[in-house]
């Protein structure tokens, strides 16, 4: 468990944040720039000290102002990957990687050099100087360097922000691999919702220095606070499912979610794999009876759970499909025509191609 409850006053900005998140797991700090994400990460790292409050990691007290505890940064064993790589220019890649490893207590060494260089594909770069690397390579080295310092917690402060879209796509799979292969809790700062969906298990929403909501990603995706941040186009339920059957010819897979089954465009997964699907509310169609003669492959039976205005001139209907919730964004007219009431039976229709999914495995967490 990572438990944070801090206050920090800075010139023209005040942060007041409390949240708790399970470990291991990936906690995403999500919010616009200037919402206090970096300040919060600096407080956890110890580079900044809060005015009041405490920070606990798995029962270890890192900061407790009232008790006068403030573990020095260099003794916290918290890996920090900054927005810029911050590689030491007077050392080779190998020298950078060994820097933290050499300073870690021998008893704490669980991540070995070869494992990390293989995981992050750095074997051919070890003799190079930082200036001879591309942006993506530099960020991978920074990540490896932090990992080799044998951290109890890894802080990633928008590690992809300085990269263009192509380079981001190059680094993201490594971050996913990290989550799957090493059971180190991660705090991931981002203002890209896409990244959050691919990586996070827990979400903390920050706005103007305040935590407006926090919780598991699938629950948070149903929250109006998140909807206000991402805008109406990206509102949608996130479902955790299991691959039941593959259809390689079609490049599709049958995924069990809640009581139903969805056929989605998904390749490079194995049967039995955990996957996370995002069903955008604008792509979900509602029907009050089973439909026939449509090209839509997926019809999930469920009951209406809530109906509310989405704040952008449309209505958001949440449908309980048995242990999972699907959101549908429909017009006012459609609401009049269907007249859904909480508890009514409904069918949620989803096109296979408009479902975005990716494999999502997490070591050490029993989800």
């Amino acid at each position: 468990m990572l438990e944070v409850s801090v206050r920090k006053q800075r010139a023209g900005f005040s942060l007041s944040a409390s949240f708790a998140a399970p470990t291991p797991g990936v906690v995403a700090l999500f919010g616009r720039s200037g919402s206090g994400k970096t300040t919060l990460v600096e407080l956890i790292s110890g580079l900044l000290s809060p005015d009041s409050g405490h920070i606990l990691l798995d029962e270890a007290v890192l900061t407790d102002i009232r008790a006068g505890v403030a573990v020095p940064v260099e003794q916290r064993r918290i890996g920090y990957v900054f927005q810029e790589p911050r590689l030491f220019p007077h050392m080779t890649v190998a020298g950078n990687l060994r820097y933290g490893e050499r300073r870690a207590a021998p008893s704490a060494r669980v991540i070995c050099f070869e494992e990390v260089t293989t995981l992050l594909a750095l074997d051919s770069l070890l003799e190079r100087r930082p200036r001879q690397l591309s942006g993506g390579e530099r960020q991978r080295v920074a990540l490896a360097r932090a990992l080799l310092s044998q951290p109890r917690l890894l802080l990633l402060d928008e590690p992809l922000a300085s990269l263009d879209v192509a380079r981001r796509e190059e680094v993201l799979p490594y971050l996913e691999a990290l989550r799957e292969r090493l059971s180190i809790p991660i705090v991931y700062v981002s203002h890209q919702f896409e990244e959050v969906l691919r990586l996070a298990t827990h979400l903390v929403l920050l706005e103007a220095g305040q935590v407006v909501a926090h919780g598991a990603v699938d629950e948070m995706c149903l929250q109006p606070q998140l909807h206000a941040m991402v805008g109406p186009e990206l509102v949608g339920a996130v479902l955790e499912g299991v691959v039941a059957r593959l259809d390689p010819a079609q490049g599709s897979a049958e995924v069990t979610v809640g009581r139903g089954t969805l056929v989605v465009s998904l390749s490079d997964v194995e049967p039995g794999a955990n996957v996370r699907l995002q069903l955008l509310a604008r792509d979900v169609i509602l029907a009050i009876q089973p439909v026939q003669g449509l090209s839509v492959r997926n019809a999930l039976a469920g009951t209406v759970s809530t109906i509310r205005d989405d704040g952008y001139g449309a209505i958001l209907v949440s449908v309980d499909i048995g242990g999972a919730i699907v959101l549908a964004r429909i017009t006012q007219n459609a609401v009049h025509a269907l007249a859904p009431k909480p508890g009514n039976a409904l069918w949620a229709l989803v096109k296979a191609v408009s479902t975005r999914g990716h494999a999502f495995r997490l070591t050490g967490a029993d989800r």
Binding site: P89, Y99, G100
Partner: protein
Amino acid sequence: MSGALTAAEIDALRLSLEVAARSVAFSLPLAVLAAWLLTRVRFPGRMLFDAFVHLPLVLPPVAIGYLLLLLFGVRGPVGGWLRAHFGIAVPFTTAGAALATAVMTFPLMVRAIRLSLDGVDRGLEEAARTLGAAGPDRFISITLPLMLPGVLAGAVTAFAAGLGEFGAVITFAGNVPGVTRTLPLALYTAMQLPGGERMALRLAILSFALGILGLLASELLVRRVRRYLGN
């Protein structure tokens, strides 16, 4: 003009190099410390300290030599103590010439080092901290290597300037042949002698050659270190 150097010229050259080298060796660690204090530490009286460090730049060298005499003379506060406890007398020795030179070249060195310390990315030190490097370890492994160009430039400039220090040396350490008569003092002495013009010219040319060599060496050194640091 005969090519070979006379014994007196070799003496003066050797002394100049020795005095400059000893002054740099003595003042370099202190200059790094002073630069650190002035750049990184907020303390009361920082501006006063800054002014004090730069004093030798604006005071007449003879005045500095005189102040040193007052302090380190056998009846001075520091000189008396040194004599009583260690039996050492500094004035009118080679060490005294080196001390006077060190004081005079100190501001040059501090300026160069400060400039490079200012240029060190604090973010890299923060990164080193998160990787487990505590204060002194961080300074030696990150800060010092990154400010090395400035430290070397400061040392070489101070060395080159120290070869020619005149006023403070002659006031504090005198003009003793073989002990404190460095190149500029030998040049000055030759000019005072009837028929010494030839020797004065030879010494002037020697000083000039030495200065040029020093500047070139400094440039080469700094370039090489920059390349090593990856800039």
